[in-house]
């Protein structure tokens, strides 16, 4: 059952990443992120299929009720991912109501997106060295490098030129971070 454990983990991680990305896509009107979400959805479909096949293969000698709980969980994560697609699809339909931006900037924590430029003082430094969280209150929760997303990068993660970082924190932190990037 190790395989199914890993599939469920990945499905939960993916579905949550997709929701975060969907709101980020909406906030920044970013069609690139919205397209990435669709790629993740294709991955989700494959995982969903694999997960259910694995459950069926073990069905003979396991408790049916226990397996039902696994199926329920798989379905829910898949459905949550579908909702993310629905949210992100707004980005392709053109004009987005200003209320989204306002609503998302008005929560206690704001989300900021920055690309690390050639001249940035953040370039080639680890998150630990930068101490962004302590200095600006901004927590880097996602980094996009080429086509890949790194969720909750560890302290020894080194930022590179061209990385797109997503951080959340107080509005003042966002302004401070802007000057560093």
């Amino acid at each position: 059952m190790v395989v199914i454990r890993e599939i469920i983990q990945e499905m939960k991680d993916n579905s949550e990443l997709m929701i975060d990305l969907a709101f980020a896509a909406l906030l920044f009107r970013d069609t690139e992120i919205a397209e990435d979400i669709q790629e993740l959805e294709e991955e989700m479909d494959t995982l969903n299929y694999k997960a259910k096949m694995t459950v069926l293969e073990t069905a003979r000698d396991a408790s049916k009720e226990g397996l039902l709980s696994v199926l329920e969980l798989i379905n829910a994560t898949e459905n949550i991912a579908d909702a993310a697609i629905e949210i992100a699809s707004s980005v392709f339909r053109g004009e987005i109501h200003p209320i989204f931006r306002e609503a998302m900037q008005e929560t206690e924590e704001v989300v900021a997106r920055f690309r690390i430029s050639e001249e940035s003082v953040l370039k080639d430094q680890t998150l630990e060295e930068l101490k962004l969280a302590t200095k600006t209150g901004m927590h880097v929760f996602l980094v996009k490098r080429f086509r890949e997303y790194i969720v909750d990068p560890e302290k020894d993660f080194t930022l590179r030129k061209g990385d797109i970082i997503f951080a959340e924190g107080p509005p003042e932190g966002k302004t401070q971070l802007e000057t560093l990037v």
Binding site: M1, I4, R5, E6, I8, Q9, K12, D13, E16, I19, F23, L26, A62, S63, E65, G66, L67, L68, S69, V70, E72, L73, N75, A76, N79, I80, D82, A83, A84, E86, I87, S89, S90, R93, E95, I96, H97, I99, F100, E102, A103, M104, E106, T107, E108, E109, A133, T134, G137, M138, H139, F141, V151, D152, E154, K155, G169, P170, G173
Partner: protein, 199 residues
């Protein structure tokens, strides 16, 4: 325990939208927590939040319908309704997760194993007498900004406090259900035991 300081009927479109987004995120976290800790109390809260969500969605639809006068406005408003309906779907699926507990299904060990190994983990820590968190507010604790840990719920005695606000003050013996990375979890454990005073 209510999240909202205002009743849905007194809120404007934007406030309702923010509330729906926050509640759906909370519901997903609570739903996984209910399964992970096999807690019917948490599953019940998910059900209660689902009802609140229904009311918010209803109020949002009314506001949205009243707000559009031109075709352009109607197009934009329809996007809000789409996103709101997706948010409502998420809360519905969260409820499906917590129903595993409500219906008293056997929770397969593989679920517990997998929930313990995701990028963002949900964990439970209890504050001890010597913890520097005691007497501090959630804002002062800076758990979110410094160690990336979000407190989803707190159990105080027999009572649950869901989605504590920034002014929430920690007490001795509080049981925190929180979300964050494994690193954040380890730091919080140390803080809770009073073995760490800086973070």
């Amino acid at each position: 325990m209510h999240l909202m300081e205002k009743r849905p009927e007194d809120m404007n479109l934007k406030e309702i939208f923010i509330e729906m987004k926050n509640i759906s995120e909370l519901m997903v976290d609570l739903a996984y927590s209910s399964v992970l800790f096999d807690s019917e109390a948490i599953a019940d809260e998910v059900n209660a939040l689902e009802e609140t969500m229904g009311e918010l969605n209803h109020q949002l639809t009314i506001r949205a319908l009243l707000a559009s006068r031109t075709r352009e406005e109607a197009e934009q408003i329809s996007e809000i309704l789409n996103v709101a309906s997706a948010i409502k779907d998420i809360s519905n699926h969260a409820q499906n997760i917590s129903e595993i507990v409500s219906r008293d299904l056997d929770i397969h060990s593989v679920i517990l194993e997998s929930l313990k190994h995701t990028d963002e983990k949900i964990f439970r820590v209890q504050l001890e007498e010597q913890s520097p968190l005691i007497g501090a507010s959630l804002r002062e604790s800076q758990l979110a900004s410094h160690i990336g840990v979000t407190v989803i719920a707190v159990r105080r005695g027999k009572r649950w406090i869901y989605n504590p606000k920034k002014r929430f003050v920690f007490c001795d013996e509080d049981i925190l259900i929180a979300r964050g990375t494994e690193e954040g979890h380890l730091i919080l454990k140390e803080i809770a035991k009073g073995r760490r005073s800086k973070w």
